[in-house]
Amino acid sequence: MTVTVGALARGGVSARRERAVGIFLLLLAAAVAFGFGLGTGAGLDSRFGLNPGGEVLFKVPDLVVPTRVTAYVLGGVLAFLAGVQLTRGFGRRTNVVLGVSVLLFILAFLTWAARGGGFNLLGMLQSTLRASVPITFGALSGVLCERAGVINIAIEGMLLSGAFMGALVGSVADNLWVGLLAGAMVGAVLGWMLGVLAIRYRVDQIIAGTVIYLLAIGMTSFLSARFLQRNQELNSPGRFQPIRVPFLSDVPVLGPVVFHQNVFVYLMLFLVLAIHVGLFYTRWGLRVRAVGEHPRAADTVGIRVLFTRYRNVVLGGIVAGIGGAYFTLGSVGRFDELMTGGRGFIGLAAMIFGRWNPIGAFGAALVFGFADSLQVRLSILQVPIPSEFLLMAPYLATILVVAGAVHRARPPAADGKPYVKE
């Protein structure tokens, strides 16, 4: 009885949700076709720059498209996707379709914003990839922890601490790599703390994570006010410069975007692949997932559950710490209080949207990075939207994602549940 009612409820809810997604897509299509299409005078063109500044080997002609027609085409594609979703449904691929649709919408929006003028699309893509770095590191940290069954809400705190230690130690040692290492180490320490609280003392993991988050805010703000603000030489570590990968960086469009970035971007791409392969194609990954899905069974076959969890939480801390160091060593060049601005939580949302899968999480982080870099670019274009609303965009997107994706995505079965050996 309960079984059938439960199954029914699940079917009903999911059908309703599929329909909601379809209607959402339909609304996007309407907004694109009517808002950006009809709302533009005929005969206007949008120009997208595809070349980086400076010398390039192959110069790509700028992409010039008629604004109105492009909006109609993109609106048509969105309407088609909505139609398929409403009639057949995309099932497991709904998240991907949703992400693609949002990207199409933003593309249409950019076309509209650049009507009658130009817009450096390449710069936008570059800043998108860069903005997605801390979000991706945060999401990967979440994947590592949660695949082993420990919820890590403290990612934001780890990012912040990594940023702080990166700046401080990097400045003192006058070496960026030492700073990076220090960021990773402080992440490891916080990860270990989370492990002690969540695994050893079995504190509610949400609370344990929040505690570490608050502790990181307190410590970094205190130490920053005590030392960094008074001695600027403690807060000037410098930045990692972009590295040009020979040959690859000359590939049109893709080259400057992907292969002319600093070490954090390459590290991120490497980690996304490494963690993906590690989780799904190695014995290590199988064990981690077993611990996250069914710790009792894992224990029965001799996998050390608590050890695996500790190890993964510390690894997750290291990854988040490196991601935090990006803020100071890879982007800004100094530490500011609360400079991470919720990227850790956005990373968590990216992890959920990416279904606890490294590559999926990276894809979601790119969408968030896009939203993040959008406001900088749009303020240049003088779009008549107040900058505050553009600043809200990543946070609102996070809420939408968490609300829209959390039920479609299934967390590891033992996520958040402490394990007690019998």
Binding site: A7, I206, F222, A225, R226, V402, A403, P411
Partner: protein, 422 residues
């Protein structure tokens, strides 16, 4: 019986388990639910005096002790002495003791040293009573409300609008309207995460934090509109609320009748939680949503109502600030009230009386920290560190017990729902 099915259908889908595992999963769920000793359940059953008084007090003691260590190891004089520890070991200890004693003496003297200092301390404590109650209220229903910060800001937006636009009405009426507007603003902001959790299962921790950011940007935007902005100022500051709470404690001190209102609200919350049917329903849902649902209660509705009420309480804190301390809305209106609220709710064991006591303690810390900074140059952020440490030790009573070798008390303290799902 049909009723129960109805509830089941409306409720969020249970964590997805493969159908063939349904029976086992259901059994495990029941076991897990039984295991889940929540704060609310512990409160309903009445935990021992140790859990209620000894652990929080010791947590504060340990936090202050660790805070002292932080002060010692970030102050120049003791650090110098420690560097030459073997030359004069006693002097190192003496220097450390001096710094710590100076710091804490300055703190407590600044907070309690005179009638005026006491008044300021109570003044600082009032908004903390509200945010603490807000978080505690959520706790009792198993919800972790990290959004008191944003709810307070949202309340401040409506309350300040009501305050400066309702001119010409009798004073007390305006005061009442401002308080009501604050409640409504906070309640609307709080209802959103409740609704999202009820309808989609989005975890309130992420949504409330994201809404904190959104509220901040919204306030920033509104402060630039002609409706809010003070015409004679260039910086973002709203028109002032001209009415204020009467100063019933004498005109020499700034403490006002709002303090009594806050105590009244605390009493009201205690009454609702402990003496009314809805209060029982909230706590039943918090203790065990599955059992509550089986008993015919609606967890989903409870999520929305509780979050709205919690937000409303936080919003009243904003009204209090507008009517008693800062008559205008500014970008930094909520200076960490929401985060302190989390610590206060945990420290006060989610009981209104405990919350009031904890808020007074935090009022002492916050108010005293200004004298601390003035006297010793130790940044006020040390209070944030101590706050986080308090949460750490309250959330992990086993840590405190281990430190003081106390006997193990009954039940786990602050256990909320486990995992991402509802």
């Amino acid at each position: 019986m049909p009723d129960r099915e109805e509830v089941r259908l409306e409720g969020p889908a249970p964590p997805v388990a493969p159908p063939e595992e349904e029976g086992r999963a259901a059994g495990e769920e029941v076991a897990a639910a039984a295991e889940r000793v929540t704060l609310a359940a512990a409160a309903v059953r009445g935990v021992g005096w140790q859990e209620r008084f000894v652990v929080p007090v010791l947590a504060v003691v340990v936090a202050l002790a660790v805070g002292a260590l932080v002060i010692v190891f970030t102050s120049e004089e003791p650090l110098r002495e420690w560097a030459g520890f073997f030359r004069d070991p006693l002097e190192a200890l003496r220097a450390s003791g001096r710094v710590v004693a100076d710091a804490y003496l300055a703190l407590f003297r600044g907070a309690l040293g005179s009638a005026n200092a006491l008044s300021e301390t109570l003044l600082v404590a009032i908004p903390l009573v509200y945010t603490g109650l807000s978080v505690a209220f959520g706790f009792r229903a198993g919800l972790f409300n990290i959004g008191a910060e944003g709810q307070l800001t949202a309340g401040a937006i409506l309350a300040s609008a009501a305050g400066f636009s309702l001119t010409g009405l009798p004073g007390p009426l305006v005061v009442g309207a401002v308080v009501l507007a604050g409640f409504v603003g906070g309640a609307l902001w709080g209802a959103v995460p409740g609704l999202l959790k009820a309808k989609t299962g989005a975890h309130e921790v992420i949504t409330t934090i994201m809404l904190n950011f959104v509220a901040g940007f919204l306030a920033l935007y509104l402060l630039q509109t002609a409706f809010f902005r003070r015409p004679d100022r260039l910086d973002p500051i709203s028109k002032p609320v001209l009415e204020a709470f009467p100063r019933v404690f004498g005109t020499g001190v700034r403490l006002h009748a709002g303090f009594l209102v806050a105590l009244l609200v605390a009493a009201l919350v205690a009454w609702v939680l402990n003496r009314t049917t809805v209060g029982f329903e909230f706590q039943a849902v918090g203790a065990n949503p599955d059992a509550a649902r089986a008993a015919g209660m609606s967890p989903t509705r409870t999520f929305v109502v509780v979050m709205a009420l919690a937000g409303g309480i936080a919003g009243m804190g904003a009204a209090n600030q507008l009517l008693g301390v800062t008559p205008s809305l500014t970008p930094g209106f909520s200076s960490g009230f929401g985060f302190d609220g989390i610590a206060i709710a945990l420290l006060g064991r989610a009981r209104p009386a405990g919350v009031v006591a904890a808020a007074l303690l935090f009022g002492i810390l916050r108010n005293g920290s200004r004298s601390l900074q003035a006297a010793t140059q130790i940044p006020v952020d040390i209070v944030t560190v101590i706050t986080a440490l308090v949460i750490l030790f309250v959330a992990a009573p086993s840590l405190v017990r281990a430190i003081f070798r106390l006997r193990r008390g009954a039940g786990r303290p602050a256990g909320l729902g486990v995992g991402w799902g509802p």
